[in-house]
Every structure is written in C-alpha cells, then in structure tokens.
Symmetry: C2
Subunit: 494 residues, 2 copies
C-alpha cells in the first residue's frame, strides 16, 4: 500500500489540520502545568545564570553563590559518613573485599547484603526492597518504638519524594480527593498532589505559638473541606517540621491520632528529620509509637530517608515507608504497583541498611558516633547562630528550630518594597513580595533562600526558608552577607 | 477544647459511619486496581513460595529455581563490567583514588565526575542530571547518529521505567488520551498508561512475518481509535523489540515516521536493547537518525538504559531520554516536573556515563571490549540454541531473535489442556491457557517464564516470553527441563 493511499485512509485529525504539535502547551497534562515546586524553581534558575556569568569573568557583587535553598549538605561542605561508603564501595567492587583500606565489619556487611541479593550485587532487587535491609529496618523500628514491625510492611523507595509520588498515585482516584496539608509545607506534597489531581486542604501552623499545630485549626480546615464536598482521605504531618523546625509534643500527636481516627483519615507521617532534634525538651516520638501506645486503629504510613538527618546522602535516593493497619487487599495493590517501577535503586537501599544498622565493632562505632554527633552538634550551633542573626536584623523575626535543617523567618516588608514588588512580573503574574525579597538577596549577595509563598503561608504574611547547612567560612559568609543586605534593604525601602 | 467537644464539631463523614478504612479496596485509585504487570505478577509470587518450601527442606521435582521471566542477567550468572564498577567505587570512596587495585583511567573519570558534581559526590545532582554525563551522552548520540544532540534536551532517569512513568504523567491529561502500543508489548507501558488513566490503542505485530510491523495494521488501529473518539497522541515502538526480538528495517521505520508526522503523533522510541543485535542483516538504526535523515518534524522521545544491552546493571536504575522537536514552553514543563523528584540517583548516572563513554586507554579498552563482546556473543549463541530447542518440541513454534534478550514462542495447546485451564481460577477469573502452561512449567521444573497474555496477543493465540540469559549449566538446565516438561505435557493432555 503506498503512503498516499494510506494518507487517504487516515481519519480526520483536528490537531493535524491545525498543524499543532502532538505535545504542545495545550496538550500537556494540565495538572502538570498548574503545579509548581518552589525550591527548585525560578530562583534556582537565576542562580545558575549568575554562576555562568561569573564563570565567564563578569564581576558580580559577590565571589560565590551559597545555596541555602536546598537541603543538600554534601554540596556545602559536609563529608559523607565513612561506614556506608566503605560498604558501598566493597559491594560495587568485590575485589575491594581484600583491600586493607576497608574495615572488616564493612566487608562483612557487604558480604551479607551481596548474599541477600543472590550472590551478585547490581541486579534488580525485590520490588519491595532487599530482604535483609527490610529486616534491619524492622529491627530498628522495634528498637526505636518498642512495638513490633514486620519486614513485609516495609517498602524501600528512591528517597522520600518517590514514596510521596507513589502514595499520591495510590490515594487519588478522582479530582475530589482531599489531602490535608500543613501550611507551610514541604512543597513536594502540594506538587505531587496537584499532578495527581488531588485537592489540597490546607491547615495553618500557628507561628505565634512557635509553629505548633492546633487541633481547632485542623477542625476548621476539615469542616470547610467537607462543606465544599471534598472527600478528605489523608493528612500529611512533617515532624520534625520542614520548613518550620517545630517538633511535635506527644500530647499534640495524640490529638492528631484521635482526629484521624474519628474522621477516618489516613496519616502520612513524614519523619525524615527524626535524627536531628536540638531542643532537649522536645524529643522525637514517631507516630507509630504514639498510635501504638493509644492502641489506635488509624492507618498510618511513616517515611524515612537517608537524604536528611545526619546522613545527607541525598543523591543516593534512598528511603523507606512502613504501612500500618493496611488491609491485605490494599497491600496486594501496593505490592503490585511497586513492581511497575521494578525496584528502588540498590545502592540507596544499602545506605538505608547502614543508617538503620550502624557499625558495632568498637572502632567503627566510635568513628560513626563521632561523625554523627559532631555533625548534629554543629547543626544545632548553626541553627542558633542563624536565628540570632535574623532576629538581630530589622524586618525579620525568626523562631528557633527544635530540630530539622531549616528556619522559616517572617519578613516585615516596608510599604515601598511591597510597591516595588508589584511592578515586577514573574511568569506573567505580579511577583509575590517575599519572592521579590529573595530575588534581591540572591542578586546582591549570591545567597539563595526560598520564598515563603512556595510553602503556603497565611495570606498577607511573608516568609522565607533558609537552611543552616553551609559549613565554616561559607556559613559565616551567609551571616555577613544577609546582615549587610537586610540593613541596606530596609534603608533603601524605608 | 476537649476531644468530645471536637468530635461534635466534626462534620458528617460517611466513611466513618460505615466504619470502613480510609484506604480500602474501594477507595484505592481504581486505575491502580485495574492495572497489572505480568512480569512480576503471580508466577513470581509462586516462585518465591517454592523457594521458601525448598529452603524449609521440602523435596520438589527440581533442585533450583531458574528465572527466565525477568531480564536481570546479574541474577543468573553475568558479571558486571570492570570499568563502571571501578569508577563507582572510587567515586563513593575517595580514599580509593590512591588504590593500586583501580586503573588510573577509572580514577580520572571518577575525578572528572566528582568535579562536575561540585567537588563532593553524593548530594542531589541537577534534576536533569549531572552536566558532564549529559555532555557525554550528547557526544555518544552524535557519534552514533551523525546528527547533533544538545545536552539540554537530555534527561537522566532512574532506568527506563521511571522515564516511562514520567512521560505518561506528562502526556495523559484526561481519560481519553490514546497511546498506540504494539501487542505484544513490554507491559510497563500498559501498566503505566493504565495507572495514569490513558487508553491503550493496540496494534498487533505480525507473527507470521517474523513479528514485523505492518503499516496497514497501524492504520487499522488508528482509524478504529479515532472512530471511538479517542484522542490518539502518542505511539510506542520498542526496537529491538521486547518481547519478540524483532529488529526494524530502516524502510519500516521511515513509514512509521511518516505515519506519526501525518497524524501528528508523538513517538516514544524505546531503544534500550540497541547494543544487542545478532542478525547482521538487521543493524540497529535509531529513530532519531531516521527522522533526521528524512528531515521529519515528528516529536520523538528516545529511551536508553544501563539495565539492558551488555551492561545489565538493572539494580542501579540508570537511563536517559532525549527530547526531539519539543517546543520551549513544553520543555519548561518537563524541566519543572523533573524537579519534583529532585534528581535521579547519582550512581545510576555515573554508570550511564561509562556506557556512553567507555574507557579509551588501550588496556582498559581491551578489557571493556572483551567483556562486552564475549557477553553479546554468548547471548547470540544462547538465543539460537533456545529457539532451536523450542522448535524441536511439540506444540511450540519460535521465531529467532534478531536482537534483544527474549524469545516469544507460540504455544499450540491441546484441547484437553484448554479444558484443564478453564477449571482453574486466578484472581477469581478463569486462568488464561498460557498462564496455566507457565504455572505447570514452574511447578514441575522450577523454570519461570511469563505468559503471553500479559504482553497482549492476538485473541485465541497463546505465547510465553523467555529470556536466554541464564549462563553455563543453568542455561543447559533450562533446555533440559523444558524439553522434558513439554514432551510430558503434550502426552498428558493429548
């Protein structure tokens, strides 16, 4: 059959006649177009352009870009822990099982994991994750909480963000599924819920009370959603909180569990910062432990990750989630869906193994603890120092962090600054004032932070999120540059 | 406020009153429930149970399980290539940059990649992938095709399956988006299209003509879909083909490009088996090359992966896709969506780098080529041997493989076997006859293959997919066990 004949056979195709592309901005999934992810958004692109201009020899008002926008400590001075990298390098390259450079315990761990993957590392693992790793996670959870944990209820993931995407796919079956989300929130929740067509039901954290969570606000948000006909199925809690640094009290957690139980809401507990808590009066408790103590029946998924805490192994994309009180037929669907992605990357799984099952031989244990503790101590000191810096500046008010990696200070912007922002455009819309402030900060100091508008905030308030991850002189530079900038900014727009 | 007061405030919640779980089988995303992925489906679960029974000491009719279902060569005897593992172990553990066990070239590559990730490896990379890796990919594509390739049009991914999921999210914005898919197909396409709510528009490959693709069949499938009101946006072509082993001729590829251009269809070219072609008369051509030669304007996404070909690094989850003829505003959406997942795992990206930019120092190059070529030669020999075995057996007819990792033989099942299958249940439905055959094969021989019904096949025909990946005595065992089984099966159901 000739092509001409075939052409005549073709049915009417409006897109062809309009000469539009198969995939153009009107045919891209609209949920994708509507969604956004502020942390890697426009300011990140601007910083790339600034870097290129500097590399091309242009003189800018600063000699380096310092990212305080992304929680990515290895990019700003952190060293990886020794033990996981020893294990991974042996697993990747078995001739190193004879190397004098690597501890015997790391070699043994490598052998144990290689054996659990069938004798040769690098093939697909089980879709749910390597068995010995899930077993070690279950032991870690039992030790942490004092309640049993089954390896079969654990799924390894490519970091927490892939777990979030996975859960949103599972939960959102129509455009009316409501996901209760704290505002401010880690924006991957809102991005992924949006892409999957879900409805965000925001509840506001109370800044005046150190960013605590009020049950009255949960009730308000829930009732409003129900009134609007939204089918509220799920609530996200991030504890220790990103971006506020707040750590929940057990009594608040119990109230949340009761709320979920009474309203039949599945709780997603994002606990990826569980290992970095600075406020001695606010130790970390897992929702699994609290719910178990209460003998609650709530459905719970809890997330953990190697990217955060004291590991910072972000690029290895490792994490896991535990299912709690899931019926067998739903678990079968989850298992099936996990097979579509074949398996999470195997190296990330190995580093998860090291996180939940650290070295025990005295010498390796000492190194591990020293690396971990000195990092957490430095983080704590920097969190205090940066909060003090912010609070010493005009127009910035900052709550201290109980834990986590971030501060979320409030900005009081002068009227002239609000006016100036109004005359700026961003993606064809008026630039939010905190975005304007962050853009100026970046352009004048090279320090990247994220506007509060990307996290959700009470309308009319302005914030930004900053990590305190940069180390040594980079950290001092952050303080110095922001101090100079803010004093000048407030004078300029006074 | 007391909990009792709060309870009274709660709005009416039908799920609570019905005492059903927030997430139960009726509230799980229905697209997930409808979807399936046969390769890791029920037979995989049965094989796990058999393994456990053997481990518990039970005597079965075989002494080992041999997986020919999953394309996972490191699980069945393949060794990883030396160079990528040397590079990865150095990158993970920089003290090995002084090790005598690792070649200087691998150390240099490691240093180059570490420099490209900002001086310390393990943090998040750029969402699109490490810059030097994308540059190496672009050079590889240019060398392969003779047409320019821009690093900015390349996205690294966690293997091809995550790229497929990504593309389906992008493409499917309502339940009426049609994805033209070859039957038989690699089932991740149908699974992911289903989960995202798309409509599969199948076109059948012609078994009688060595599984070739007929333009008349494309036209039939397309016209039927248009008649049904489906908005056909995209076509998937897998070349070399999974599961049939067919490699497309350039003239067929040109017809496909014309068809896509005239009907304004975006082409997803899955070219992950491009490096393993056995039929000298059917060399591999990329769709990028063919479309470029034709000066065609079609929109094309081409996929590649470290999991397949001669690498087999499945568990490292590395791959990439190239966008061709994408408008800038769509690319901006793709870039944004890539940021939601933060970045593909960094180690997978390093192995992609080694695949597209192999070692050049004479000694390393010799090792690389010997490892690669001996593996491909063995694959070819085994493909012939297994096809000959199948064709020597009653009730099985098998086309030889031009390339790839699989054979997709046809089963002629005796009436009595069809009757026997009818009396078996699987997921409350009648068991497809080829599923019945595969289950019997597994239970009696320990060899796992995948029923054709999971790939799509002409109704009334039956097939199975088998890899020829197992090495040495395992491969001999596959031939021996299937031979014995099929002779007995045909006698039993005669």
């Amino acid at each position: 059959m000739s092509l001409k004949t075939i052409s005549r056979l073709f049915a009417y195709s409006p897109r062809y006649l309009q000469n539009a592309r198969a995939l153009n901005i009107n045919t891209v999934n609209k949920e994708v177009v509507k969604s956004s992810y502020s942390i890697r958004g426009h300011l990140n692109t601007v910083s790339d352009q600034l870097r290129k201009r500097m590399a091309a020899g242009e003189k800018l008002p600063f000699d380096s870009i310092i990212p305080c926008n992304i929680g990515n400590p290895l990019a700003v001075g952190k060293d990886p822990l020794t033990f996981p990298r020893d294990v991974v390098s042996c697993i990747e390259n078995t001739k190193l099982l004879n190397s004098a450079d690597i501890s015997e315990e790391a070699k043994d761990r490598a052998k144990q994991i290689i054996a659990s993957t069938g004798g040769r590392f690098g093939g697909y693992t089980k879709s749910q994750g390597i068995e010995i790793v899930r077993q070690h996670i279950a032991e870690f959870m039992y030790k942490r909480d004092g309640y049993p944990c089954k390896p079969d209820d654990i799924y390894l993931s490519d970091g927490a963000s892939s777990a979030i995407s996975f859960l949103m796919t599972l939960l959102i079956q129509h455009n009316n599924v409501g996901i209760m989300t704290p505002f401010p929130t880690y924006p991957v929740y809102t991005s992924e819920a949006a892409v999957h067509g879900g409805k965000i039901v925001p509840f506001y954290l109370r800044e005046s009370n150190n960013w605590s969570l009020d049950i009255e606000e949960l009730v308000r948000a829930y009732n409003l959603a129900i009134k609007e006909g939204i089918d509220v199925r799920c609530m996200v809690i991030i504890n220790p909180c990103n971006p506020t640094g707040h750590v929940l009290r057990p009594e608040t957690m119990r109230t949340i569990v009761d709320f979920c139980e009474q309203n039949n809401i599945l709780l997603i507990a994002d606990e990826v910062y569980q290992d970095v808590v600075y406020n001695k009066e606010r130790p970390f408790y897992s929702f699994k432990k609290i719910a178990s103590q209460m003998k609650s029946n709530i459905q719970l998924v809890s997330l953990h990750s190697i990217s955060k805490g004291f590991m910072g192994e972000c690029g290895h994309r490792g994490g896991y989630f535990e299912l709690y009180h899931f019926p067998e037929d739903v678990k079968a669907q989850i298992f099936k869906m996990a097979t579509f992605g074949l398996c999470p990357n195997a190296v990330g799984q190995v580093i998860v193994d090291c996180m939940v099952h650290p070295p025990e031989a005295p010498e390796n244990k000492a190194i591990w603890e020293s690396e971990r503790n000195s990092y957490i101590t430095k983080l704590q000191q920097k969190s205090v120092k940066l909060a003090e810096c912010f609070n010493s500046l005009p127009g910035i008010k900052c709550k201290p962090a109980d834990g986590g990696w971030y501060l979320f200070p409030a900005l009081s912007l002068p009227l002239k600054a609000l006016e100036a922002a109004k005359s700026c455009r961003w993606q064809r819309e008026v630039m939010p004032p905190d975005f304007f402030w962050c853009l100026k900060l970046l352009e004048e100091t090279g320090v990247i932070v994220v506007p509060g508008s990307g996290f959700g905030q009470v309308p009319g308030t302005f914030h930004f999120r900053s990590t305190f991850l940069p180390e040594d002189e980079k950290f001092d530079q952050v303080i110095e540059r922001i101090t100079k900038f803010q004093n000048e900014f407030m004078t300029k727009y006074d």
